[in-house]
Symmetry: C2
Subunit: 282 residues, 2 copies
């Protein structure tokens, strides 16, 4: 099974770096990174992610502040909490758990997050900086994709990368980050003609469409590196967009789901908080 790209192993290395960064600061009596996470209402997924973020943050030595608001609160209440956290010099990163309950104006609220603390890359300003090639923070899932590819020590320059999916949170930013790495990038989607042929010539294929087991062995070539960003619930199991059993025997390297891209995202969020701390000190 040497063909499997192990997200947990890559995450362990990043975690070591973060631990060292924080413990060095503690020894020197310097400020340590602290993340504030805002949860509005009781969305099950959001509660799960928040708990998992807290667990990773605390395990690495970072601070984690939970701010919870009832579903009955108003836009202004959430904005007021964001303003307090923007001003709080001990908080480096602000995470707003999405989606908000439907009675809230998500766009209006997101734009109040200070770009210097927007470690989840939610604001238009953060997105603009990303696409203009001057990101303050890298969005975590796209960064996880690129970090996994880089961990393989392959030369990305000039490689034929095909990104399947064009969402704002994965497809488009992944394409941007791989373009920054000097890959030739093709973005495909549901309207692409000859999708199989386009995917099959990819040196690196990134799949983020949210359709479980959509990609089988006919979509890849023998030398392909395949990164599966899908996480759908399928027959009671978290399942990727790639039909793992069929593709693993044909391609060169493949990320599993779970244990691939997703194994790295929360760690990269904490890393962003460390970078925020360094950026804001200067």
């Amino acid at each position: 099974m040497g063909k499997i790209i192990n997200g947990k192993e890559v995450a362990l290395k990043v975690k070591e770096d973060i631990k060292n960064f924080i413990s060095n600061r503690k020894e020197k009596d310097l400020k340590i990174p602290k993340i504030a996470s805002i949860l509005v209402g009781n969305d099950g997924g959001s509660i799960y992610y928040m708990a998992s973020q807290e667990k990773v943050a605390v395990s690495l030595g970072a601070g984690f502040l939970k701010v919870t608001l009832p579903e009955t609160s108003k836009n202004e209440d959430v904005i007021s909490e964001i303003h307090k956290l923007n001003e709080d010099k001990d908080v480096q990163g602000i995470i707003l758990q999405l989606p908000l309950p439907s009675n809230f104006d998500e766009k209006k609220i997101i734009k109040e997050i200070s770009p210097s603390k927007d470690i989840d890359c939610l604001t238009f300003e953060s997105q603009g900086k990303l696409y203009m090639g001057e990101p303050k923070f890298l969005p975590c899932t796209p960064n996880s994709v690129v970090t996994l590819i880089k961990s393989l020590n392959v030369d990305i320059v000039g490689k034929n990368v095909v990104v399947l999916g064009r969402s704002n949170i994965v497809g488009k930013p992944v394409a941007q980050l791989l373009l920054n790495e000097n890959a030739t990038v093709t973005i495909c989607h549901s309207k692409t003609k000859n999708l199989r042929e386009v995917c099959r010539v990819a040196d690196i294929l990134v799949v983020a469409i949210g359709r479980p087991k959509f990609i089988d062995e006919t979509y890849v070539n023998e030398d392909a590196i395949v990164i599966d960003v899908g996480t759908s619930s399928f027959e009671g199991k978290i399942t990727g967009d790639v039909d793992f059993d069929k593709v693993i025997d044909k391609c060169k390297l493949l990320t599993p789901v779970p244990g691939g891209v997703g194994a790295l995202t929360t760690t990269l969020l904490i890393k962003n908080a460390c970078e925020a701390l360094e950026q804001n000190e200067y």
Copy 2:
């Protein structure tokens, strides 16, 4: 020469729409669009563009306010002018002529432009909205490319579009806009391997690399629509990235330089000012 895509003709149609929009408003005693253009120093190119923008704006019935500052002024002077224009209810669009003289902090100044008046799409917020698929205004040169393609009444959906060049002002936003039109988009650049082969299978090829006559007939197929965004000075003439004489006989349709993409950009800037006026009224 039915193979030539005539930018001036397309511009004429857009100009008619703008003229009608403005004269209808005048008849009803409603506010008409007014653009403020800020020129700092004496850059020849900037003076030329400003004069040309004024000419088009006035010819269409729009207002045009020139704000000039000496090269000896300071960042704060430019910012103060921008703040005044942000507050001025008669001004719908603000253009900052770039590049600024080297003693100015361009980034610091640009971010002061109100996103609701940023008709040239310069701020990070405008760029973020563009890439998130919620643009307030479309940047003029990329919009010119898409407007020319749409004027041909070809079906863009699922088409294989190759964008050669990845600049912030052309390549990347063009790719984004054509992705919004449901094309399959490949972004190529100087590090792309087999560039000729990649370009040759394009249904639509957009070239924006600033290398005069770089693209010859070996880069295109017989059915290709070729959009040339290049404007270099070559042997004393404004010259595109496409070797016109060699490509026109092979491809299906081609934009000339001058008279193609560039013939439309200023008109689209005025159109943005009209849209700003409508957006800000509600």
